[in-house]
């Protein structure tokens, strides 16, 4: 029997998914604690044993009969992929660089603009970034700023890889600067070649290649490659890839159309949207840098455990109480958040604990969706009111997919996800109006992102089969 083994070296758990090639069924899933400090393979082997036991005992299949034709992985272990991005104008190349890095699955620690000063370059030097992304200027546009910044990077002899994705007319000069300083660099296409035109794909792909060839080794995960074919991408990039292929379809399979993914974790909440996001109403003019079709945002202050206190701060007590239906202020919201922040491995047991978690998740979803989706700004003109659209119009998104523990384990995930729906009271936010909801109950999204690289038709079919509709 031929099967794929898909692995996610997560920050907490190493998750394994085995897919039967012939039946396109999920044969088994298993997980164990990620052990990146000692040897990432310890946790992997434990999970692998669990997978073996399950397949032999539950499926009554001899493990030795299974031929894994491909063993591929994604990873967010050892802090994930940390990046710093540099551009010229904050709303233009600096923002384009940040968006491209997020789409590549990175955690963008900070974005810099204009010519860097000494303290900024020191900050970059002393950071624990994995990759530095250098952009600035449209093709044929400003060269001075990016060359200045390249010189500073060369001066500090930065040791991490530098990805150059700026004004192509400055490349020759920058390459010379980097060569002379022995900087480890890679050149790709400009992330914003023309004003307001984002070109994020070459940057995303270049980041993935650097991740695969250099970062995996730098993070001490290279020995995993003795057993598996490769750690191909950061986990969030795999989720985005899965969502992308599910939205667009593959060669032989129809896609679902525009969709979003809400991924609520302990430390962060990720939102992905797969849609052009053009205005759906008349009299609306898109403003500023265009948005990538596949867009990911990460909310570092919205999470269920590690970020429980920052979630409270962002939402405010009132909002959480509203989700708790606590009109008489009987619940000590602060204490509950504090408890979660201090016990990041806490698994809710009682109905009250579950209810509180779900209220937090609702508030977090509402805020994360508002931050991700576009919004309208009214302008009064002699021809009447017109609107600027900032970001993406996601009113007509057809599907919203929920993943992450609190959603997957919830008996009523729809309640949580509906917090991110269009709200007539705040019509400026272009949130999905009446989407269908799906839940990633078998945790297959990142695995399917990996599989999509091998066999996109199969990945689409399996997602359609396993993502569960919620009523």
């Amino acid at each position: 029997m031929n099967a794929y083994l898909l692995i996610d070296f997560g920050s907490t758990y190493t998750k394994l998914t085995a897919v039967d090639v012939a039946t396109e069924e999920i044969l088994a899933t298993a997980k164990d604690i990620t052990t990146v400090e000692d040897d990432i393979m310890i946790g992997f082997k434990k999970a692998y044993q669990k997978l073996k036991l399950w397949i032999e005992e539950e499926k009554k299949i001899k493990f030795d009969d299974i031929n894994f034709i491909k063993k591929i992985a994604c990873s967010s272990a050892a802090g994930g992929l940390k990046m710093y991005a540099i551009g010229l104008v904050p709303e233009l190349t600096a923002d384009a660089a940040k968006k491209a890095a997020l789409g590549a699955g990175a955690r963008v620690m900070k974005t810099y603009s204009y010519e860097l000063n000494k303290s900024e370059i020191e900050e970059i030097k002393n950071s624990n970034a994995d990759i530095l992304l250098l952009a600035g200027g449209t093709d044929g546009g400003n060269k001075k700023c990016i060359i200045h910044n390249a010189k500073l990077i060369a001066d500090i002899k930065i040791e991490i890889p530098v990805l150059l994705a700026g004004n192509k007319s400055a490349n020759d000069e920058i390459i010379e600067i980097f060569e002379n300083a022995n900087i480890d660099y890679i050149v790709t296409e400009n992330v914003m070649p023309k004003l307001n035109k984002i070109n994020e794909k070459p940057t995303r792909e270049a980041i993935r290649k650097i991740f695969m060839t250099k970062i995996v080794e730098a993070k001490g995960m290279k020995n995993a490659e003795d057993f598996i074919s490769g750690i191909l991408m950061p986990t969030p990039a795999a989720v985005l890839k899965a969502a992308e292929v599910l939205a667009l379809g593959s060669d032989d399979e129809d896609g679902l159309g525009n969709l979003m993914v809400v991924d609520i974790g302990g430390a962060t909440t990720d939102i992905h949207s797969l849609a052009e996001g053009d205005p759906s109403n008349a009299g609306v003019i898109p403003r500023g840098l265009e948005e990538p079709f596949a867009k990911r945002t990460v909310e570092g202050d919205l999470g269920m455990r590690y970020s429980a206190l920052s979630l409270l701060e962002a939402a405010g007590t009132k909002k959480i109480r509203r989700y708790l239906h606590d009109d008489h202020k009987e619940i000590d919201v602060k204490a509950h958040c504090n408890h979660r922040h201090e016990n990041i491995m806490m698994v809710p047991q009682t109905p009250e604990e579950i209810f509180f978690d779900e209220a937090m998740a609702g508030a977090g979803t509402e805020i994360a969706m508002i931050r991700h989706c576009g919004w309208l700004e009214s302008v009064f003109t002699p021809m009447g009111v017109m609107y600027y659209q900032h970001g993406k119009d996601l009113l007509d998104v057809k599907y919203v997919i929920g993943t992450g523990g609190v959603l997957v384990h919830s008996k009523n995930p729809r309640n949580i996800l509906e917090a991110g729906e269009f709200n007539k009271e705040q019509p400026v936010h272009l949130l999905p109006r009446a989407p269908n909801y799906l839940i990633d109950s078998t945790y297959i999204l990142s695995a399917m992102g990996l599989l999509a690289g091998e066999n996109p038709d199969m990945a689409v079919r399996i997602m359609k089969k396993y993502l569960e509709k919620v009523n």
Partner: protein, 139 residues
Amino acid sequence: MKNGKTIVIGVIGSDCHAVGNKIIDHVLTQQGFNVINVGVISPQEDFINAAVETDADAIIISSLYGHGELDCQGFKAKCDEAGLQDVKLYVGGNIVVGKQEWNSVEARFKDMGFDRVYKPGTPIEVTAEDMKKDLGMIK
């Protein structure tokens, strides 16, 4: 043939007159300029950000609806702030309310820091010729 000069154009403020802006784009492109069009209803910041990223040589602001004088206030100062001291600034259209004496209008806009100010109905070809002189392309 490209002439190597980059020009940012657009319609400032809450003004959505799109046709003239398209004509300006068309004519200047035909004459070899690299035209960066920020479009209609554009705030000052959009012109400035575009000029910074594209390393523009000149900015041409259009205004047709009479409120250009308000919309253009502080523009030169913001350009200076953004490091665009050497970028030539042009403005034209129906840039003030009603019919006013041209010399006074021109003087007010020059005081605001514009290098050249154009009367209503001036063909864009005139501006193109002026730019070629100002940018040292012809004598």
